[in-house]
Symmetry: C2
Subunit: 161 residues, 2 copies
DNA sequence: GTTGACTGACTAATATGTTAGTGATTGAAT
DNA sequence: ATTCAATCACTAACATATTAGTCAGTCAAC
């Protein structure tokens, strides 16, 4: 029996659209030996001089457990430094190194150029619409949204049919 | 030195907006013991009766190497069956089981309900705008987009500063 | 009938996502 | 001074993402 839901899969559309955008930037990023996440972090650090891990988590949308590994690798690569804060031994300060600063100064302009190319192709209106709609969705976050009532939990693992 | 790029990080905005949507569906999906990816696959199978792995990859935006593992686990859980095609031994047919059919019949309506709730909260216009803009971006895929020229590759791993 | 390009699923290795939980540290209330 | 909840980075365990490559099966050309 075929089951077709009334709504198209919206998160999946986001996934596809995001990939369609990202595929134009990925070659640039990997050309410099970085991963997407590492570039997000360097881009953020390029605007803030020093940041704490949890700030980077929020800004770059990377969960804390992933962040630990990413920062460790970036530290090994000489792209960042980590230093415990004097006043609060729980907290950590992350900074760029001269090496990553140089890297960003080369990579950044290429990213901007690619944006311009995409803007030409998509049309500036579409880019503008994108920013607007994204901001609206993100703003909607503030208004609490109800959740459907869930039925009692079954253990589907042990149901044969 | 602070470096601020001329364009906001658009793929990152997609990531955030997608997460803002998904967080309203995730609890429903995990309540039934599924992952996001598993649900995407079941939803697709619910509309197609039988699919080949590479079709599922395209439809659900999951890369082939991930698909192997996901399908293996779903087969173990009794959610799908895999069968080699008679005519072409390379190809495989994936189908739902009575168990997963029952699961989708319970889960599907809850997802639809949650969409309605979100539509109320976001406003129907925003949902409509979302579908429109996403489709535009995805449609833009067809027009080939140029790539910025990349400088000669350096090995940033071994540069000190 | 062999060859050779191609296809489709799969494997391998590494990085990240996701959920739950730990342990040290802090700060407010006792 | 002590207790207690909260905070923050981190660990653990598993699932998925990403890139590259393997391997058997197919199909067309020779």
């Amino acid at each position: 029996m075929l089951r077709k839901l009334a709504y198209r899969n919206l998160p999946q559309l986001f996934l596809k659209a995001r990939e369609e955008l990202l595929c134009h930037f990925r070659p640039i990023i990997t050309h410099f030996g970085l991963t997407e996440q590492q570039w997000r972090i360097l881009r953020a650090l390029g605007e803030h001089e020093e940041m704490e891990p949890r700030e980077i988590c929020e800004t770059c949308h990377i969960l804390s457990p992933s962040m630990t590994g990413v920062l460790s690798r970036m530290e090994e690569m000489g792209l960042i430094t980590r230093e415990r804060m004097a006043g609060d031994q729980r907290r950590v300060l992350v900074r760029m190194t001269p090496k990553s600063d140089k890297l960003v100064s080369e990579l950044g302009p290429l990213i901007v150029e690619q944006y311009k190319i995409i803007e030409q192709s998509f049309g500036p209106e579409l880019i503008q619409q994108l920013y607007e709609v994204m901001d609206k969705v993100i703003a909607a976050e503030r208004a609490p949204i109800a959740r459907v009532a869930l039925p009692p939990k079954k253990d589907w693992t042990n149901i044969t049919g």
